[in-house]
Symmetry: C2
Subunit: 246 residues, 2 copies
């Protein structure tokens, strides 16, 4: 619990390589996660080569963490390997559809989180790169991902240069619903988000972005409707190209 409870995202890494043995060991721990029907619908692409990192960096919007991490792990929803097994086993695979994509995505994400927990347990630090879904199409090209595969997230990994303080979370009572979803009144929302809104760093963030409220930094700057709609179309098109959508 203590390990999970003190998780922080690491964006600066020491110039210290991660051994192959350790990498395999944490990925093995990843594969011990639950998986749908024990089908193991995932692959992990390990990026350590400088040239490959250079190709991936712009696809992760050149975030310094993507450029500087000693290792990137791209977690791939993978129905290709399983389908190939079917094909050589006189069985006709039926996984070129959206349910199968989402099933494989769930499998891959449970592995990713286990790998992160195992990494931290071994003194490594991690940072998830949400950019993977934005630029799945180009990542597919660079990593040569075949049909019936799709990259769902990337984890940057290395030994932490420094360990920042815990980030804020809304109170856990704001996450939990007993028996049925209790929709949020204005008073409850204000109660849940006031701590965050009043943090000095968040007030600074609002000021720097010349906005009136913290929420506006999200809607107008960080996660904009127009970007979300653009990337939604792109993901859907890429799911089609990978054979997961008709």
């Amino acid at each position: 619990m203590e390990l999970l409870n003190r998780h922080v995202t690491i964006r600066n890494f020491k110039n210290k390589p991660v051994t192959q043995h350790l990498l395999e060991s944490i990925i093995y721990s990843g594969t011990r996660a639950s998986t749908t029907g024990n089908m193991q619908l995932y692959s992990v692409i390990v990026t350590q080569d400088a040239k490959m990192k250079q190709k991936l960096a712009p696809l992760h919007f050149n975030q310094p963490v993507a450029v500087n991490a000693p290792v990137l792990l791209t977690f791939v929803a993978d129905f290709n390997r399983f389908s190939r097994w079917c094909e050589i086993s006189k069985a006709e695979p039926g996984y070129a559809n959206f349910l199968s994509f989402f099933t494989a995505a769930i499998d891959a994400l449970l592995v990713a989180q286990n790998v992160c927990v195992a990494a931290e347990n071994n003194g490594l630090g991690i940072c998830y790169l949400g950019t993977t879904t934005y630029n799945a199409k180009e990542i597919i090209d660079v990593l040569e991902l075949p049909e019936l595969t799709f990259p769902v997230t990337t984890v940057a990994l290395g030994y932490p240069e420094e360990v920042p303080e815990l980030t804020d979370r809304i109170p856990v009572r704001g996450i939990i619903h007993h028996e049925k979803y209790q929709n949020y009144t204005e008073a409850i929302i204000k109660d849940l988000y006031s701590f965050k809104e009043n943090l000095a760093a968040m007030k600074q963030f609002v000021k720097e972005n010349e906005k009136d409220t913290l929420a506006q930094v999200f809607t107008d700057v960080r996660y904009k409707k127009s970007d979300n709609e653009f990337f939604s179309e792109k993901i859907i098109q890429t799911l089609r190209e990978q054979g997961f959508l008709v």
Copy 2:
């Protein structure tokens, strides 16, 4: 690592309740997982009431584990709470789209896996119910999930009646790709899957199902093309109804 490496799915539980304190504690550990832009795009619905369990059971195809577990946790991709915060903060949310759904689904699944690790660290056993995506529509009705939410997985939870042996996994080298995806030759597939195919339990499974190969049990019985296509249409329709797809 040891905790992750000895994970097994538990389907039989002792008649021993899980305290509210422990439930909150493991869900709190869940919320320490990485989350996109610290937006925390998830909710957890706790089912303990017998009547609610009865309503959910058929939606999980009456799997005994769904009927008998003392607790079900439904993990929900949730952009509703965040959007409501935006609305009362003079900010216009732009999250009624597929990218936002998938971002929230990733968030929710990382929480789910952390909750499972925390649960096992406290002596609980868990079982993921993949049926959640199949019957998301009906689960939405029962749990009264509003627009911009979607249930992505359910975890059944309780104290283990017995702890089964570890299940098989393909060798980890079959999961890892260095720098680029190496597609699988027939020889490699045979090598990766031969251990599984030769397990006595799997041979029995093929025989019971009157099939020639283990893969046929998956394609013809457990995860059939026609079912996958039916449920794909249903999920897509439900994503539309929840406001995540145009």
